[in-house]
C-alpha cells in the first residue's frame, strides 16, 4: 500500500489537503507501529524503554492494543474494510484510554494511555476526514466539508488535546498544529464565500441575546467597595520592579502586592486583535468550534460545582452573553431557568490555540529574580522545593460577571494581567495564614491546604443574608480582624501577587485575564 498512490497532484483547496495529510499520517503511524511490533515480537508485555524513539511509550499499552491501532490506522489509509466498524473500534480504544484517566489520579496517568488517547483520536479524525464525500472545486456553501463534519473533526482533536495534552510524538504534534490551522483556513474561506449573505444571517453571535452589538454585556452599576487600596505605579522598569520585590517595606511581611498600570498597552489583544469583541474570539476558534474546559457553579468550594468541556461558541452564548447578571431586566423572561455561572478558569488556552498566544506577550517582570517564598508562609518549605521554571506558566481566566475564585494561595509569584473587564481582588499576607482557616486533606483524598474555608464574599458582606454574615464572623473569628489589602483591577492593569499571598478574586463584569506564574 503506497502512500504515493493517493497523492493528489494539484492541491487546490483545503479539504483536498486535509485528506492528503490524513493519508500520510495514518500511513506513517501504521508503519511505525508495525515496526515496533516486529522489534518486540517475543514480548507480550513490552519492555520499558522510553529512551528509544519518541512514539515508544504507546507500546506499554500492550501488544493487543498496539496491534489493533496499527490495523485500524492501516485500513483507514487503504480505505479497506467496514468504515462504521472501524469508527466503533477506534471509539473502543479511546474509551480504554479514558478509563485510565479515571482509574489513576490525573497526574499519575501513565504516558502510554495519554498516547493511546491521542493517536486513536488522530486516526478517528483521519477516518472521518478521508471518508467524507468530497466535492472537488467546492459547492457554494459546502466547500467539501459540511459544518456538521467540521464540528465533529474539531471536537475530536480538541478532546485529545484537553484530555491527553500535547502529543508525545513529534509527527503527531506537527499534524495537530497544521491540521487545526488548515481547518481554521477552511472555515475562514467558508465565511468569506458566504459574506454575500445578509449580515443578519452571518452574525449569529451579535444577534443572540437582546440584539446586542459585537460587545460583551456591560455591568456598569456593579461595584464593590475597596477599603485598603493597593498602591498603583505606572509601568515600572524591569530594574525598578526587581528592586521593589527585593526591598520590602517590612522584612516581616516580604514583598507586597502592587498594581502596574499601562503595562500591557502594546498587546495586540488590547488593540488590533481585540479580545473584547466576541466576533474576534469566534474567528480565532474555528467559528467557535474549539472546545474549552469550563467550571460550572459559583466557586470550586461549593456543592454543585462541576467541570465540563463545551464549544467556545456555546460558552460565549450560554454563559457569557446570557449570564444572569448581564441580562437586562426587560429580557429576564427569556432567560433559561437554573442559570449557573460558567468560568473558563486556569486553562492553558494558549498551548491549545497558539494563534491567541500571539495576541499577548509575557511581561518582562516575569523574568526578574523574585525573592524566595516568605518565611512567614506555612507553605514556604513546600513552595521552596519547586524547581525553577524555564518559562512562566500561562493560564487564561475568562468568564461573566461574578465568577469567584475562593481565598487561596499559589505556589508561584504571579502577574495577573487584566485584558478585558474588571475584577475585585482581596489579598492577605502569608503571615496571616493562622487566621485564615486553611482546609486540609478532605474526603476523597484531595489536598485543599492551599484553600481557606472562609467565604470572603459572605465575611465581607458582599453575599449572603445578615444572619449568614454573622455566622461567618462567629465561625471564623480570627479572620475578622486579619489585615488585608484590596483593589478593583481595571482593564489594562496588571496585579503582582507575591508567592504565598492569599487571594480572593471576583469578576465585576465580563472578564478576561491572563496569569503568569514565575519563580
Amino acid at each position: 500500500m503506497g502512500a504515493k498512490s493517493f497523492v493528489i497532484d494539484n492541491l487546490q483547496n483545503g479539504p483536498d489537503q486535509l485528506v492528503q495529510m490524513c493519508l500520510e499520517q495514518t500511513y506513517r503511524l501504521s508503519s511505525q507501529l508495525r515496526g515496533f511490533a516486529e522489534q518486540h515480537q517475543c514480548q507480550d508485555e513490552p519492555a520499558a524503554d522510553p529512551a528509544k524513539g519518541n512514539r515508544n511509550s504507546i507500546l506499554r499499552c500492550g501488544r493487543p492494543i498496539v496491534q489493533l491501532l496499527e490495523q485500524l490506522s492501516s485500513r483507514t489509509h487503504s480505505r479497506s474494510g467496514d468504515h462504521g466498524l472501524r469508527l466503533r473500534r477506534l471509539d473502543d480504544l479511546i474509551e480504554v484510554a479514558t478509563e485510565k484517566f479515571y482509574a489513576y489520579p490525573f497526574k499519575d496517568v501513565p504516558a502510554c494511555w495519554r498516547s493511546l488517547f491521542m493517536e486513536a483520536s488522530i486516526v478517528k479524525f483521519c477516518a472521518l476526514a478521508i471518508e467524507q464525500p468530497q466535492y472537488p472545486g467546492g459547492l457554494e456553501a459546502g466547500r467539501g466539508l459540511s459544518a456538521v463534519v467540521l464540528d465533529q473533526l474539531v471536537s475530536i482533536l480538541d478532546m485529545a488535546l484537553i484530555m491527553a495534552g500535547s502529543p508525545e510524538a513529534e509527527e503527531s504534534r506537527v499534524f495537530m498544529t497544521t491540521t487545526l490551522q488548515l481547518l481554521q483556513q477552511i472555515e475562514a474561506e467558508k465565511e468569506n464565500s458566504s459574506s454575500s449573505e445578509p449580515v443578519s444571517k452571518r452574525q449569529r453571535i451579535g444577534s443572540t441575546s437582546s440584539g446586542a452589538t459585537n460587545q460583551f454585556p456591560q455591568s456598569p452599576s456593579y461595584v464593590l467597595p475597596v477599603s485598603h487600596p493597593i498602591s498603583r505605579i505606572d509601568q515600572p522598569s524591569f530594574e525598578k520592579f526587581e528592586h521593589y520585590m527585593s526591598n520590602p517595606n517590612s522584612d516581616d511581611l516580604g514583598p507586597e502586592p502592587l498594581i502596574m498600570m499601562h503595562a500591557i498597552e502594546n498587546w495586540p489583544a488590547r488593540n488590533e486583535r481585540p479580545w473584547n469583541q466576541p466576533s474576534y474570539l469566534m474567528s480565532k476558534t474555528i467559528g467557535g468550534r474549539r472546545l474549552v474546559p469550563i467550571e460550572t457553579g459559583r466557586s470550586y468550594t461549593d456543592d454543585g460545582w462541576g467541570q465540563k468541556i463545551i464549544t467556545f461558541k456555546s460558552f460565549i452564548e450560554e454563559y457569557i452573553l446570557l449570564d444572569p447578571n448581564n441580562i437586562a431586566p426587560e429580557n429576564h423572561a427569556q432567560a433559561p431557568d437554573n442559570l449557573t455561572t460558567g468560568y473558563l478558569a486556569q486553562h492553558d488556552l494558549f498551548a491549545q490555540i497558539p494563534s491567541l498566544r500571539n495576541d499577548i506577550a509575557i511581561p518582562d517582570y516575569c523574568f526578574t529574580s523574585p525573592p524566595p517564598p516568605h518565611h512567614t508562609s506555612p507553605l514556604a518549605p513546600k513552595h521552596s522545593q519547586l524547581p525553577i521554571l524555564d518559562e512562566p506558566i500561562l493560564n487564561a481566566w475568562f468568564g461573566p460577571a461574578c465568577t469567584i475564585s475562593p481565598l487561596h494561595t499559589d505556589p508561584y509569584h504571579n502577574i495577573l494581567a487584566q485584558v478585558v473587564g474588571r475584577k475585585y481582588v482581596r489579598l492577605y499576607a502569608p503571615r496571616e495564614s493562622g487566621k485564615l482557616y486553611a482546609r486540609g486533606v478532605e474526603d476523597g483524598g484531595v489536598d485543599m491546604a492551599n484553600t481557606s474555608a472562609i467565604d470572603i464574599g459572605v465575611l465581607a458582606g458582599f453575599d449572603g443574608t445578615e444572619q449568614e454574615q454573622k455566622e461567618a464572623r462567629e465561625r471564623f473569628p480570627l479572620s475578622v480582624d486579619a489585615p488585608y489589602v484590596d483593589c478593583v483591577l481595571e482593564e489594562g492593569e496588571c496585579l503582582y501577587i507575591p508567592v504565598g499571598w492569599w487571594h480572593y478574586v471576583r469578576s465585576l463584569s465580563v472578564s478576561f485575564s491572563v496569569s503568569f506564574w514565575f519563580n
Binding site: E45, A48, R88, D92, E99, K100, Y102, A103, Y104, P105, P110, D443, G444, G445, V446
Partner: protein, 232 residues
C-alpha cells in the same frame, strides 16, 4: 508472566495495582513491574481468604466465614461499600459491616468490575455497591451502601461484574443482564440496558447454565448437560 510467585490468589486492578494473598497475608504491588520484581507492601493479615477480586480502583476479599473486606482508591469511596474514617482508612482492608448477619446468611461469592462490586449470599440473595460520580448508574440505586437486587423474588446462584455490565444467574438457571452491550457482552444486540432483562440463550436440549464469568467487555457462561455431539 513469571510463575515463580507462590500466591494463592491474585487480583489486578485497572490502575495497575496488584494484590496477592500469600500465607495468610495480603501483599499489594504498585504496578506490574513491582509485582515482577516482588516489590510489595504488606497491607494486612486476613484469615482464610477464599476469593480476591478487583475493579478499576478497589479490591474486595471474601473469607471462608463469609466476611467481605474492601480497600482501594479514596476518590471512589462508593466502591468500598463501607464507612471511611481514621479508624477505617480507604487504603487498608476493612470489613464491610453491612454484609454481616444478613437474613439470607453469609456471603459465598463476590465479583467486581468497572466501579461496582456484587456479592451473593448462602441463601441466594444478591447485593451490589459502587458507582462513580459522572458515570450513569449500572443499576438503579447503586451507591456506597450495599443494596439487595430484587427481580420478582428470584434466588441467585451466581453473579459476574464486567467493566460496565453485570450478569446474574438465578437458581432456576435463568440469565439476567444489565448495563452496556455495545460489544455484545449482554448476549443481545442492545447497546445499553438501564434495567435488568432476561436473556435466553439457545443452549440445546437438556443443557443449562451453572456458572457465569464476566471479563472487561465479555461474558462467559458455564453450561452443564449433554455435549454438542451428543444427540440424545
Amino acid at each position: 508472566m513469571q510463575l515463580d510467585h507462590k500466591a494463592d490468589l491474585v487480583a489486578l486492578a485497572g490502575n495497575d495495582k496488584i494484590v496477592s494473598y500469600e500465607n495468610g497475608t495480603l501483599k499489594q504491588y504498585d504496578s506490574m513491574q513491582a509485582y515482577l520484581s516482588k516489590d510489595s507492601v504488606e497491607i494486612g493479615a486476613c484469615k482464610d481468604v477464599i476469593s480476591l477480586v478487583a475493579n478499576q480502583t478497589s479490591f474486595t476479599a471474601l473469607t471462608s466465614n463469609g466476611e467481605v473486606w474492601t480497600w482501594g482508591d479514596a476518590r471512589y469511596e462508593a466502591c468500598l461499600g463501607r464507612e471511611v474514617c481514621d479508624e477505617s482508612p480507604p487504603a487498608k482492608p476493612h470489613l464491610v459491616e453491612d454484609l454481616l448477619d444478613l437474613p439470607s446468611g453469609p456471603i459465598v461469592k463476590i465479583s467486581s468490575g468497572g466501579y461496582a462490586t456484587a456479592a451473593v449470599t448462602e441463601a441466594h440473595d444478591l447485593y451490589v455497591w459502587g458507582g462513580r460520580t459522572g458515570q450513569s448508574k449500572l443499576v438503579e440505586g447503586l451507591s456506597g451502601q450495599p443494596i439487595p437486587i430484587d427481580l420478582d423474588g428470584r434466588d441467585f446462584l451466581d453473579v459476574a461484574v464486567g467493566n460496565d455490565h453485570m450478569v446474574a444467574l438465578t437458581t432456576d438457571h435463568e440469565l439476567f443482564v444489565v448495563g452496556a452491550g455495545g460489544n455484545g457482552q449482554l448476549g443481545t444486540y442492545l447497546d445499553k440496558l438501564e434495567d435488568w432483562k432476561e436473556v435466553k440463550l439457545n443452549l440445546g436440549h437438556g443443557r443449562r447454565m451453572t456458572g457465569i464469568y464476566a471479563g472487561y467487555k465479555t461474558t462467559f457462561v458455564l453450561v452443564e448437560g449433554p455435549g454438542p455431539d451428543d444427540n440424545t
